[in-house]
Structures are given as structure tokens and as C-alpha cells.
């Protein structure tokens, strides 16, 4: 119990003092995970849309596989990426190991299946609703995809948030490909792991609380955005 009290107290102190090391770590966490989510959406949303409206023989198999990939263990992804970009690996010449870029790559691999699987589910629901109308009006596939993506945008925002949540909370991948190097590749989760291994549980928990506050803020901001946009426009 003593640790919990200490932790909340510490978390408050950290937030109020805007400790510069903490800010650096938070900044990197956000930079890595937000970039990963962005790339995952750029790749994953079109694929999700294609799966939602496409009908082809292996479709069921693809959907099952993508859904299963949502459960990729972060540490396994980290290991595979490490082996690929290590100096002993095929892409070692890119010199990406122990950089934020490597962390972005690993997290993107981790969350793209989530974006594909969840967006497919969302878009397929909407497609079923619109399908007969679109066929009646001979709407092209491209316009169908664009209409689905736009009309489902709030649900898709939730999909992106799910991906972000997974990315910003994982430690297994980024610690292997990033190396938790001080001032270079240390993010919130690896810092928490470090403080835990030093036995400084109160600080570790405090960092965890800060991470939660950030996640809450992002979700809150997006909810506010959704409410204001639906209130003031009907497009």
C-alpha cells in the first residue's frame, strides 16, 4: 500500500514539475506510437476496406489470418525485427537498429493487423447497409471505398485509438529493437521496466500513472472532437 500512495504523490510531482527527462521520454513515446499508428492506418485502412467489399476465394482464410495476427506477441515482433535489421541480418546495412525508426517499424508491424481486422469489421457492417443501393446505382469500387471510409470515420477513429493503445503500452518490441538507450530510445514503457528492475517501484508506478493520464487525454480530446463536429455539421 505504501508504494501506491508514494506512486500517486510522485506522479503528481512529475507532472507538475514538467521534469525535462520525463518530457523527453513522453515525447519519444508519442512520436514513436503516433507515427506507427499513422503508417498502420495508411496501410491498413485500404486493406480493411478491400477485404470488406471484396469477394474472392481465399477471403475467409485472409480474414482468419489477419484476426490471428492481432495476437502477435510484441516480444516476438521485436525479436524478428531485431534479427532482420541487426548487423548480422539481411537489412543490417540500413543501420536502423537501436533507433526510434526501428521502434516505429516494430510497432507498425504490431498494430497494422489490428487496424486491418477492426476496420474490416466496421466497414463490412456499413457495406452491408449500403450495398444494394451502391449496386443499383453502379457506384464504382473506388467511390464505394471512399464513401465507406468517410461515413464510418468515427468508428475508424476508435480503431486507430485501439491501435495506438496497443502501441503505446507495449514494451517487448521496443526494448529489443530500441535498446532502451538513455536520451535516445527510452520510452515510457521501457523506462517503467527499467525502474522496476532497479526496484524503484514507486517511480515505475508513477510513470505508469503518467502514461495513463496521457492516454486518457488523447481519448478525451478525440471524444470532444467527435462531439463538436457532429453538433455543428451534418455533412
Amino acid at each position: 500500500m505504501q508504494n501506491f500512495g508514494q506512486a500517486f504523490h510522485l506522479a503528481g510531482e512529475l507532472v507538475v514539475s514538467a521534469d525535462s527527462v520525463l518530457l523527453e521520454i513522453i515525447g519519444l513515446s508519442l512520436r514513436v506510437s503516433l507515427t506507427a499508428v499513422f503508417i498502420a492506418c495508411v496501410i491498413g485502412l485500404p486493406i480493411g476496406a478491400a477485404l470488406a467489399i471484396g469477394r474472392f476465394p481465399a477471403r475467409g482464410l485472409v480474414i482468419v489470418t489477419v484476426n490471428a495476427l492481432m495476437g502477435l506477441p510484441p516480444v516476438v515482433v521485436g525479436l524478428v525485427v531485431y534479427m532482420t535489421i541487426s548487423n548480422a541480418g539481411p537489412l543490417g546495412w540500413l543501420q536502423l537498429l537501436y533507433t526510434p525508426t526501428a521502434m516505429i517499424i516494430a510497432q507498425t508491424i504490431l498494430i497494422t493487423p489490428i487496424v486491418i481486422a477492426l476496420s474490416r469489421e466496421v466497414l463490412e457492417q456499413l457495406y452491408i447497409e449500403y450495398n444494394e443501393l451502391f449496386r443499383s446505382m453502379s457506384v464504382s469500387r473506388i467511390m464505394t471505398v471512399r464513401a465507406l471510409l468517410w461515413d464510418a470515420r468515427f468508428s475508424l477513429m476508435t480503431v486507430a485509438l485501439a491501435g495506438f493503445g496497443r502501441a503505446v503500452a507495449e514494451v517487448g518490441a521496443v526494448i529489443i529493437v530500441g535498446g532502451n538507450i538513455n536520451h535516445l530510445t527510452r520510452v515510457m514503457t521501457t523506462a517503467i521496466a527499467l525502474e522496476t528492475s532497479k526496484g524503484d517501484l514507486a517511480l515505475a508506478l508513477a510513470l505508469g500513472i503518467v502514461l495513463l493520464i496521457i492516454a486518457l487525454s488523447i481519448n478525451g480530446a478525440l471524444m470532444a472532437l467527435k462531439i463538436t463536429t457532429t453538433k455543428f455539421s451534418h455533412a
Binding site: S86, N87, G92, Y98, N182, T196, S197, K198, G199
Partner: protein, 272 residues
């Protein structure tokens, strides 16, 4: 396309960003979590950087992982505390030459009420024997690290095979020193740890040092340059500077200066 002043600014920033990464002199040090968790690097590396302008990035993982990473060429220098593994590393062609850097010692920590009565034991081997006879819970690293190998050698000298009791009173965590200490603290159990990690560890619970100062508990750290013939990307010049520095009087001074509560954590003993 029109060359606007905004585009020039952006191009300049991008070039500067890349140049900064290419020309800022850095080396990558593969080390262990216990060494890093001791806080040593936060003390000695800034001194090295101030003196040479070379930045040192530390990747800390388990001993086995650090050595594997170095074998893969994912680092310029290896600094761990597993002498026979380091010597094999050089023999197998992955490293250039191994040097002794510093030593400290291991200690056996345990619950302050000491149910196995190891405080009275004459040495570490006898202490482990008491623990085994009493079937007190003992936490092992179980991860082939330097600490783990030391622990295994002590059991061998005692003639007891603790693996027979794995899962009973002998618990193998397969984890780093910090995680292992957390578990020992949580279970109020005995474990072997290096003194540096222990001094810096904040979750001691009811644990304290119960057995120490045995010559068998000697913990030697070694430094090796990753072989640039095998891995051309190694930053040889700067890595050599680091190794020379840490073996030099300046480096020794820096190491010896690191104290917690007046206790020195590492003792320099540079020797090839």
C-alpha cells in the same frame, strides 16, 4: 518547382538532422542490466565524453543477449562479467582482445530473520549448504548470466545439485538481476546478487546482506572490442579510445569514484 525560402529552410533542417547523426561521434556499448542498474555508467560516461567528445550509447540486457548482440556486430564494445564467456568470444573470432577492467563482489542476501542461519556459515559454499538443508527458498537467475554461472559453480563446490529441487525451494526466474531481486524480496527468499546492483536496489523488503567477503564471491568485469574484421561497421577508432580510457588512470579514477552511501561499488584492476 519553385524554390521558396520555406523549402530551403526545411531542406537545411533535414540536412542538419542527418549530419548531426552521421558526424556526432558515438559508440555503442553492449553491457548487462546489472552493470547498468548499478548506476555506474551515469557516473563514468559523462567524464569520458567530456574528455574525448565521444558519446557512448549503452544497450543493457542479459549477459547472454549482450554477447549475442556483440557477436552479431550490433555494438562496438562489449562489457560484461562472465570471463570464460568473454574469452570464448575472443577465441571464436568475435572480439579482438579481452581486458580485465574492474571487479566487485557477490553477496548472498536473504530475510533478516535468516531461517537457514547462513550468517554463521564460514563461507558462501557452506551458506548454500545451510539453505539446501533447511529447504529455504532460494531464487536463482537461471539465465546463464555471469551471476548465474557464479552461483552454479558455488553449488558444484557444495556437491549439491539444486536443479533436483527446481520449483520446490529452488526457484529459477530466467530473468535479470533486478527482476530476480524483486522476486526474492516478494518471497522473502535468499538469492545471490552482485553488490553494486544491491546497493542501488530500492525494493529490499526484509532482505539484507547475510554472507559476503568470501574470495569465491569475486566478480570480474571484462571489456572487449568487437572484431572490425568480422563487422566492418564497428567504429574502431572511437571504441579503442574508450577501451584505452577505461583502462587508463583517468578511467580507473572515474570507476573508483562511484560510491553509494560511502561504499565503493567497483574496484578497477586493469590487466590484459
Amino acid at each position: 518547382m519553385r524554390i521558396t525560402s520555406k523549402k530551403i529552410l526545411i531542406a537545411g533542417l533535414l540536412i542538419g538532422f542527418f549530419l548531426k547523426n552521421v558526424y556526432a561521434d558515438t559508440i555503442l556499448l553492449q553491457s548487462t542490466t546489472s552493470t547498468a542498474n548499478s548506476g555506474l555508467y551515469e557516473v563514468i560516461l559523462p567524464i569520458f565524453t567530456a574528455s574525448t567528445g565521444i558519446h557512448v550509447h549503452v544497450v543493457a540486457s542479459g549477459t547472454g543477449q549482450a554477447i549475442t548482440n556483440a557477436m552479431n556486430g550490433d555494438g562496438d564494445v562489449l562489457l560484461v562479467h562472465a570471463k570464460s564467456a568473454e574469452e570464448k568470444f575472443v577465441r571464436d573470432g568475435y572480439g579482438v582482445q579481452r581486458f580485465d577492467v574492474m571487479y566487485n563482489d557477490f553477496v548472498i542476501v536473504g530475510p533478516n530473520n535468516d531461517p537457514a542461519d547462513i550468517r554463521g556459515a564460514q563461507n558462501a559454499v557452506k551458506a548454500l549448504t545451510h539453505i539446501s538443508q533447511n529447504q529455504s527458498i532460494f531464487i536463482s537467475r537461471g539465465d546463464n548470466s555471469g551471476t548465474h554461472r557464479k552461483e552454479i559453480s558455488l553449488w558444484q563446490m557444495s556437491g549439491i545439485n539444486p536443479l533436483k529441487f527446481s520449483g520446490a525451494w529452488y526457484r529459477e526466474t530466467g530473468s535479470g538481476m533486478g527482476a530476480t531481486l524483486n522476486i526474492a524480496s516478494g518471497m522473502n527468499a535468499y538469492t545471490l546478487t552482485d553488490r553494486a546492483t544491491w546497493l542501488n536496489f530500492k525494493n529490499r523488503g526484509h532482505l539484507e546482506i547475510l554472507s559476503e567477503s568470501d574470495s569465491e564471491l569475486f566478480n570480474q568485469y571484462g571489456v572487449v572490442l568487437v572484431n572490425p574484421v568480422l563487422h566492418p561497421k564497428v567504429n574502431v577508432e572511437s571504441a579503442r579510445k574508450f577501451i584505452n580510457w577505461i583502462l587508463s588512470a583517468d578511467g580507473q579514477l572515474a570507476i573508483a569514484s562511484y560510491k553509494i552511501d560511502g561504499q565503493q561499488l567497483f574496484f578497477p584492476n586493469p590487466q590484459p
